[in-house]
């Protein structure tokens, strides 16, 4: 059987007829008896009827399936219009009038035909305007037509009943329509009658049932005869529908009462119809041409559905699980079978859950059903969730006009308001496809993000200046480094500093140191000017360093992370120190160590506090936190002071001072800050010496002071050099002078190393030599640093114990 394309009107009509013939209520097969009667009523010669049956394939099948039935009807229409019966003509004939059936049992059909025609012509579809579920074709119009007409078509008790509800319409036509009310009735149902959900059509059929009851009610209320189509026209706009069915009241009761009324009303309407039908016919033809998709959802409906969706699932992009949906829709009191069918239609992706689109479609179908519209066999296009934006959700063939099976949509006829048309376009926005797409987008974006990260991640250690490492460095640091680099000219001298930090990363470190040196140099030059910036940066730097410094062990090597090679103390500019500081932030672990170590463990302050407490008060502040411990330590264990990195720093510093001011300053500073690390880096020697001197904290302090003194002049210069580091270091050393120890150490370290030539342009050899030395110093200092750290810990413990003792003693004192 070729596929049949029916107009909406036709579909509706045929569907009604089919329902009428579907006495077995199977919805699949039109009983032969009824069908044959119907065909007879078409007043066609019997051979034509036979031919039709053959053509439609019923003979082959042995029964009239829906499609066969539709085809047969169409063929009847073709035959009635005098065209030759051809299968091809099924789809080719346009504007075919609906088949007309003569009275008799089939009066209803006839009336329907008339009705349909009329209504069609009247443009039923537009009647509703509000976009309510489209009324069955023709019905509304018929109503409008008004001519109560005495039913041009002989009364047909059967179907009528529904018509009446349509108020305005002149029922004449409507009655005709009513026969297959089932669809038409839906408008009524909208009215708030809960129609029996079950098998709307069949129910409606006067023959069968109850559904009519609701309608009849309408009828009663209406005017009675005319009403038939009135129902349609009156159909309440969607909102009503919503209200009505939302309440989900029991719909059966009314229906039961109604049937009785049917017959009478039917008759009335029938008469009316017959009169009107003739008139209608013309109109119907006119009508048939334009109608909207009956299944479109109006905006109000949509909004309502969305609200309902929210009550179940607040996330509009989420799913409603099947069980929740089941409960929800069960409230509609539709039979499970129908709900099951609705679910099948609306769960587009067959995932057992409803997205917003699917939910709206399902809801809409439920509403339609409750209003008496038959469920379509396939999901109407307008209800299809746009799962995939670009795809033509093409699985569902244009539903309404498609093959016979989609009868119900036709019934629903377009009356949906013209406003609907654009709804489909709006759907895509809500589709899951959007969600899906967004998912993909998100994923892709995340990928891109990660890529970026990865790109950034591999810090290029070789870069001389800012390392890949988390660039903690503040701009000033960087600047400082640059300055240092510039100043030192060649990083040769300072390569050690970076080297200090990380022997393995010498190259980078070298660069770093170089940079630092330059910076230092620059700072030296600019010094004062930049110092300010340094100071400002110091704070953050300090913090940073302190943070990084928390890991003492790292100090030594400086390096876990790149560059900030901890310039060993020997580096004059302490480019290493500076670097350390600057880079320390970055690497956090390495460089900071020396500097940071100073902070957290407050080692640096140790030596200093005692001496420089006064002077350093200012800076202490910042280093307080860091060096708090140190300070305490200093108080408690003077001996350890010398071990403080600060101490070392200072020594270096002094050495620096001796060798070259700028560099020394930075170094000193650095050392003071990094303390241990620097010292260690510089060389175990100096540190060791420092340690040995630890006992002589005074000495340390002295050195510190001296360092201070020396550093005094240097301080300013160094500051600029090391910007960040220096600022901290300088501050500290200057203020707190972390310690004479540091300075001692520094000095010692510095001494051990060839004064790191500020001049950047040293001979290569010298540079290399210094590099080597620096490296050695680095390692030494690193070791020293670790040792100092250990000592620091011990000291801290001692302090604690002492404090405890003190407390224990105290109470006694009170006694």
């Amino acid at each position: 059987m070729e596929s049949l394309t029916l107009s909406d009107v036709e579909q509706k009509y045929y569907s009604d007829l089919f329902v009428y013939c579907d006495t077995d209520n199977t919805k699949k097969v039109a009983s032969n008896g009824r069908v044959l009667d119907l065909f007879r009523a078409a007043q066609l010669p019997s051979e034509v009827v036979l031919q039709i049956t053959e053509l439609c394939g019923a003979t082959r099948l042995g029964h009239f399936g829906r499609s066969q039935f539709y085809i047969a009807l169409k063929l009847i229409a073709i035959a009635q219009s005098g065209l030759p019966l051809r299968v091809e003509s099924l789809n080719s004939v346009k504007d075919l009038p609906l088949p007309r059936f003569v009275v008799g049992k089939n009066e209803a059909e006839a009336r329907h035909a008339a009705l349909y025609q009329d209504t069609d012509s009247q443009g039923l579809y537009s009647s509703s305007g509000s976009g309510v579920i489209p009324r069955p074709p023709g019905r509304g119009h018929q109503n409008k037509k008004g001519p109560p007409s005495s039913s041009s078509v002989p009364v047909h008790e059967v179907i009528q009943p529904l018509a009446p509800t349509i108020e305005p319409q002149p029922d004449s036509t409507s009655p005709v329509v009513s026969p297959h009310q089932s669809p038409p009735t839906s408008p009524h149902s909208w009215r708030k009658h809960k129609r029996q959900p079950s098998g709307g059509n069949t129910d409606r059929q006067p023959v069968v049932s109850a559904a009519g009851a609701v309608w009849t009610q309408f009828r009663e209320t209406q005017t009675g005869p005319v009403s038939g189509d009135g129902m349609w026209s009156s159909h309440s706009p969607p909102p009503t529908v919503q209200e009505s069915w939302v309440s989900f009241t029991a719909d059966t009761p009314p229906s039961s009462a109604l049937p009785a009324m049917h017959p009478s009303s039917v008759q009335e309407s029938t008469t009316i119809r017959t009169v009107a039908s003739a008139a209608m016919t013309n109109e119907i033809q006119r009508q048939s041409s334009g109608y909207d998709d009956p299944w479109k959802i109006t905006d109000e409906q949509r909004q309502y559905y969305i609200n309902q969706f929210k009550t179940i699932q607040p996330d509009l992009n989420g799913f409603i699980p099947g069980s929740a949906a089941k409960e929800f829709f069960t409230k509609s009191k539709l039979p499970i079978l129908e709900l099951s069918h609705i679910w099948e239609l609306s769960d587009f992706d067959k995932d057992g859950a409803l997205t917003l689109d699917e939910f709206c479609a399902a809801f809409h179908l439920v509403v339609a059903r409750k209003n008496g519209y038959d469920l379509p066999e396939k999901l109407p296009e307008s209800l299809m969730p746009k799962l995939i934006d670009l795809d033509d959700s093409a699985e569902v063939p244009e539903p309404t006009t498609d093959v016979g099976y989609s009868g119900s949509p036709v019934e629903v006829t377009p009356n949906k308001s013209p406003s609907m048309p654009s709804l489909n376009q709006t759907w895509p926005e809500m589709n899951q496809s959007n969600e899906w797409e967004t998912f993909s987008e998100r994923s892709s974006s995340s990928q891109t993000l990660t890529q970026f990260d990865s790109n950034i991640a591999p810090a290029d250690p070789d870069t001389a200046i800012v390392h890949p490492v988390p660039i903690r460095m503040t701009p000033s640091k960087i600047h400082m480094q640059e300055m240092e680099l510039k100043r030192t000219g060649s990083d040769h001298n300072h390569p050690t500093s970076p080297l200090l930090a990380k022997p393995p990363e010498l190259p980078e470190e070298a660069k770093l140191t170089a940079s630092m040196k330059f910076v230092a140099a620059n700072t030296g030059g600019d010094g004062y000017s930049s110092s300010d910036s340094f100071t400002s940066d110091q704070e953050p730097i300090t913090r940073q360093r302190s943070q990084s410094g928390t890991s003492p062990e790292a100090l030594k090597v400086v390096a876990p992370p790149p560059p900030p090679p901890r310039p060993h103390p020997s580096h004059s500019r302490s480019s290493s120190l500076d670097m350390n500081r600057t880079f320390a932030a970055g690497s956090a672990t390495g460089q900071q160590q020396p500097a940071t170590v100073a902070y957290p463990p407050a080692v640096p302050p140790r030596p200093l506090p005692t001496q420089t407490s006064g002077s350093h008060a200012g800076h202490r502040g910042e280093a307080e936190g860091v060096s708090g411990g140190g300070a305490v330590l200093t108080t408690t264990s003077p001996q350890q002071i010398p071990q403080q990195p600060n101490f070392a720093d200072f020594s270096q510093f002094q050495a620096f001072a001796a060798s070259e001011q700028p560099s020394s300053l930075p170094e000193v500073d650095k050392h003071s800050e990094t303390g241990q690390v620097d010292k260690s880096s510089e060389g175990a020697g100096p540190l060791r010496t420092v340690k040995s001197d630890s006992q002589a904290e005074d000495r340390a302090s002295a050195t510190v002071s001296t360092a201070k003194g020396s550093s005094g002049p240097l301080a300013p210069p160094p500051k600029p050099v090391r910007r960040r580091l220096k600022s901290e270091d300088e501050l500290r050393p200057e203020d707190e002078q972390h310690g004479p120890q540091k300075s001692n150490l520094i000095a010692a370290v510095l001494a051990t190393q060839p004064s790191i030539p500020r001049s950047i342009g040293k001979d290569k050899k010298a540079i290399q030599a210094s590099i080597r030395r620096n490296k050695e110093t680095n390692t030494v200092l690193a070791r020293l640093n670790s040792e100092l750290q250990q000592q620091l810990k011990d000291l801290l413990e001692e302090r604690i114990s002492l404090e405890v003792q003190l407390e224990q003693l105290r109470p006694f004192s009170h006694l």
């Binding site: 499970i336 099951s340 679910w343 099948e344 066999e377």
Partner: protein, 139 residues
Amino acid sequence: MAVCIAVIAKENYPLYIRSVPTQNELKFHYTVHTSLDVVEEKISAVGKAMADQRELYLGLLYPTEDYKVYGYVTNSKVKFVIVVDSSNTSLRDNEIRSMFRKLHNSFTDVMCNPFYNPGDPIQSKAFDGIVSGMMVQPS
């Protein structure tokens, strides 16, 4: 093209039976019933290797002179039985497999429907549609 398609539940009661020439229903019901024994036999045959992936498609269960019966069982012990007319140019095995696959898919869709209680007769129109598509068109 099948002549009869049946879906049997785990407890061996029918969930769905559809025969094309409606008048032969009784005969087909009987055939399907007897084929269940064969299905059970095949299922239990893999007894030891329970963990093994049991072949869902059971193949030809039972040929008679008139027709052939094919079986397919899902992992949840729901059985599909297809009766094919022997006079039909024998359908290739692959075709039968694809028919079962389609059946299985639409059965899954039916299961997904929250309104469907497992164990109820299948009344889904979509399922019917699929089945009808696979059945021989009566002439």
